[in-house]
Subunit: 365 residues, 2 copies
């Protein structure tokens, strides 16, 4: 398989770092001051027909003065809206792609990588796809409903009813759970994650405010609404958001031309009813996992191999309903060492090409 | 003064809406489903040399399992980093401009307006400035430190020590405080704010997590650091962030070529020492206010006229130290009806031209 780096400048650094260096990178103190000077520009200009941002959904609700932070009177706010930023390339375009990030992250996931290379957002645009990157409802620029926190602060609600704020942290939440290496400070020999930039990935982490949203998760409908507004789109999701497009398709599949699930946290292999599976069988689905799936996450819950197996069960059910599910790992494509964060891995554009080829084949116009 | 709408498509809508319509727009229920179909594309292509995102600053800190949301073990995270997204236009460029949003908002402030027109982010790029839009530390994609909330939830900290989460709401926080009109549901006769899109602006609101950051505000140093990394930049701030560049310049003014304060919440007219004023006198400063400054905000605290007067006192002190402060209102420029959110007003590009002319004059290369 050819390594494609079109559009991304700079040499492909594959140096195997020794554990001592890795441990130094993980050391507490001032975070690595990489930032701007490590960001590499593309070799060619990016020509856009359009770009910008907007919101999908949202509900107007009344709040008390306390819930608003005790500055003014009772008043109205909007909650459960989803932020969307987008770029549309000049010239003939292919099917739009909507990109959704995982737990304790934001849409930044798909932009410039932690070591300053081009992310999937820009790369897919350069490959003629209009791309729409979202912040999940209740995260980052989508905002969240602060009412419970202010009510607890004011003694109007018991503290244990306040939403929990999950944050995936550096040594376990990221290093072992994202499968950079088998144990803290040790990278897999063929690790594709840019280990020297682990401290930069840490800066992308935000508290997960999913608990502040209503049930069902408003992002599910926002995604099917967005696909409709786009008059057809591929939904590309990752990790926590992996199974969202299945929910979106069950709400309204009309706009959903294809579903790409990158290392989904679950495929709901045993959750969906036979009727739901029959409906999901009408949309082509691509499920992609990385390498070293059985490496211990060092967090409670299923391993990535368990999650892969769940997706295998899902595929078997959808296949039986005459659906079209491709389930594979990057190892199947002949590449070793891809992590959970393959959109940031050194070979991220090679992985993108795998996905782009599937989109062309299954969801192209 | 000529109205400049180069680059922005669509007719300039100046219809004066009647109160009945405005009240309907403010009514509780499903938020206006404007979104994508109301976003207008520019007439001409946008050609970029580079674009992307990165972080400035950040501190690695140890957290307990409880503080991380009780999934895994104690671990390390990064806090106090500042998210930056940027676009660099093709061709010869002018001085970079860094744009900072106000309270309970994010960098979205400077992108597509609530009624779907081009924002200052893209417009300044089209006027040959590399533009860097930030999310303040502790807001949106910069993330925040969730520890206090999780400690309170677990009974490890008294609820009243939990940070307050301010949210500016629709009827008072926005309508009267942002001076869309003199009272709820009534717009000023010459109102420049796109009143029909008030519900869309509401979606941009996020809880203000400034209380979760350390003192001094990490955004101050992040801005002077960014200006240094850019080898010279103009800092353009709004409302809450209005006075930040003064703090940044006192930390390190070397990279700060000019300061633009759009309706600053304060100019610290009486706060700075004479020595500080003498140092601030070395950087050109432009302070711009809108119309109807004495209209009641209907919130506690100073009126916008009070804030203007504070800036007048600031200007007098800096002028006495042989500084260069231009303080004016949009009315001085012959335009009526500009609100606090002038980057979203119907004549937002006309206002941008005022600022661009000042930058060319005072901070151009």
């Amino acid at each position: 398989m050819k390594y494609t780096q079109s559009g991304a400048a700079g040499p492909l650094r594959t140096a195997l770092l020794v554990s001592a260096t890795l441990l130094a990178l993980l050391g507490a103190g001032a975070a690595q001051a990489q930032s701007l000077r490590d960001v590499r520009s593309a070799d060619s200009l990016l020509v856009l027909k359009a770009r910008g941002s907007f919101y999908v959904g949202g509900e107007q609700v009344e709040k008390t003065a306390v819930e608003l932070g005790s500055l003014g009177p009772d008043d109205q706010i909007t909650i459960n809206q989803m932020y969307v930023e987008y770029m549309v390339p000049a010239g003939a375009t292919k099917v739009p792609v909507v990109m959704v990030h995982g737990a304790t992250l934001s849409g930044k996931t798909y932009d410039t990588t932690p070591d300053g290379r081009m992310g999937w957002y820009e790369y897919f645009v350069r490959k003629s796809h209009p791309v729409y990157v979202v912040d999940q409802v209740g995260r980052a620029r989508s905002g969240f409903d602060q009412s419970a926190f202010n009510n607890v602060r004011a003694g109007k609600m018991p503290p244990d009813q306040q939403p929990n704020l999950l944050r995936l942290a550096d040594r376990f939440g990221a290093w072992t759970n994202f499968r950079i290496g088998p144990e803290l400070g040790k990278a897999f020999p063929q690790a594709q994650f840019p280990v020297e930039a682990a401290a930069e990935m840490s800066k992308q982490s935000v508290p997960d405010l999913l608990g502040t949203s209503r049930v069902p998760n408003p992002t599910w409908k926002a995604l099917s609404d967005l696909a409709l507004q786009l008059d057809g789109a591929v939904l590309l999701t990752h990790s926590q958001s992996g199974p969202y497009p299945l929910r979106s398709a069950l709400i309204d599949a009309k706009g959903i031309r294809g579903i790409v699930m990158v290392e989904p946290g679950t495929c709901n292999g045993k959750v969906h009813t036979d009727d739901e599976i029959a409906r999901l069988a009408k949309t082509p689905i691509f499920i992609l996992f990385g390498d070293h799936l059985s490496s211990p996450t060092k967090l409670p819950g299923p391993s990535w191999q368990d999650r892969f197996n769940d997706c295998k069960a899902f595929k078997a059910r959808v296949d039986a309903a005459k659906g079209d599910v491709r389930l594979m790992t990057t190892v199947d494509a002949g590449v070793r060492g891809n992590s959970h964060m393959m959109m940031m891995d050194r070979n991220n554009l090679q992985i993108a090409d795998l996905i782009l080829a599937w989109i062309d084949e299954k969801a192209g116009r």
